[in-house]
């Protein structure tokens, strides 16, 4: 229990730090730096999680794992809704994303939201990457703390 809180505090502090380094105008740089950090962490994490687990059957199996076990281990809850077009695009909905709850409860500070989602996008992309899946992961927010993660599998 305690450790997840520690991560949440660290994440918040990291966002502040990266933002101050990137400067006011460099919104994109801040987001991409955090995303890159998340990517590395995600690669490492998925190795630990899947050490003893059997291989995944298919892409959908992987996504279900991300939504359930992976998300639960990181954010103490599952993804609330998973949608797909069965052609490599997945939308993961979290009605109460833990890293957004301290930011706001509504539309206030909406422009700050991307910074708080970047690391997690990287986490997912890194995890998928080490499972052999190339993807792009973006996030969308309209009313905090709910958000959606868009995952598009890249064709080799």
């Amino acid at each position: 229990m305690g450790e997840s809180v520690l991560f949440e505090f660290l994440h918040r502090e990291m966002v502040t730090r990266v933002q101050s380094q990137a400067g006011d105008t460099e919104h994109g740089k801040c987001v991409s730096t955090l995303e890159g950090m998340g990517f590395r962490a995600g690669q490492g994490l998925i190795e630990r999680f899947t050490k003893e687990a059997p291989a995944f059957k298919d892409e959908l199996d992987v996504m279900k794992f991300i939504c359930k076990e992976f998300w639960t281990n990181l954010f103490r809850k599952q993804i609330d809704n998973l949608r797909t077009n069965h052609q490599g695009t997945y939308v993961l909905q979290d009605h109460r994303f833990r890293l957004l709850t301290p930011v706001s409860n509504g539309k206030q500070y909406l422009e700050e939201a991307p910074k708080f989602l970047a690391f997690t996008c990287g986490l997912v992309r890194g995890a998928l990457s080490n499972l052999g899946i190339d993807s792009t992961v973006t996030a969308e927010v309209s009313v905090m703390p709910a958000c959606k993660f868009h995952i598009v599998m890249q064709k080799p």
């Binding site: 229990m1 305690g2 450790e3 997840s4 809180v5 520690l6 991560f7 505090f9 660290l10 994440h11 502090e13 990291m14 502040t16 730090r17 990266v18 380094q21 730096t33 950090m37 998340g38 590395r40 962490a41 490492g44 994490l45 630990r48 999680f49 281990n73 990181l74 690391f119």
Partner: protein
């Protein structure tokens, strides 16, 4: 809820029980893994941002300080620890309750000085260190320095000024991580509810 046995004599034997809300076994590892790996990426990023190891150490300490000032509220809410009466109790709480709760390890508290306000926390197996290799050019890096910042910030919030230093970090050849902690003067503050003071701290 945590309990503490009454101290009868000079013997500092206090049983600290973990609060019932703490997690166990595998759930621990997962939560810690995320923190450990994230911390690793942070340090890697700082190595890119900063030229000198000393600067990295300072940033880690500052970030830790900011985290600590907020973490202490979380800690007090979860642990329900009563006010510590002296440095020994403070160190014990830090080692046996706080470290255990957030990092899953319990450092050894030892090497007390004569005055009883200076001690070392020894971590035989530093969890932050898992799977980390520091290249030669960062020999002055205090990898776990954020822990010191967190402790400093947290203790500041309970009006304890400390001088904390990471002496050895097991990233180098040393096997253990040693944090030297000197509890300095307690800030005088008017409290509405005071526990019985056995002896003043840091005079």
């Amino acid at each position: 809820m945590s309990r503490q046995s009454r101290r009868r004599s000079e013997k500092q034997q206090i049983d600290w029980h973990l609060p019932s809300t703490s997690s166990t076994g595998s759930a621990y590892h997962m939560g810690t893994e995320l923190f450990i790996l994230t911390y690793g990426t942070l340090v890697a990023q700082l190595c890119e941002d900063c030229e000198k190891d000393e600067d990295i150490n300072k940033v880690l300490d500052k970030m830790g300080h900011n985290i600590g000032t907020r973490l202490v509220e979380d800690f007090l809410a979860r642990s329900n620890i009563a006010q510590c009466r002296n440095s020994y109790e403070t160190a014990e709480v830090i080692a046996k309750v706080a470290f255990k709760m957030y990092l899953g390890v319990t450092p050894r508290v030892t090497f007390w000085n004569q005055a009883g306000d200076d001690c070392s926390l020894f971590l035989e197996k530093n969890p932050l260190r898992g799977y980390v290799e520091i290249p030669e050019k960062h020999s002055n890096l205090l990898y776990s320095n954020m822990i010191c910042g967190i402790l400093r910030g947290a203790l500041k919030m309970v009006r304890l000024q400390v001088d904390i230093q990471l002496l050895h970090d097991s990233v180098n050849d040393d096997k253990v991580t040693e944090i030297r902690m000197k509890l300095m003067r307690r800030h005088k503050a008017v409290r509405t509810v005071e526990k019985e003071q056995k002896h003043p701290v840091g005079t």
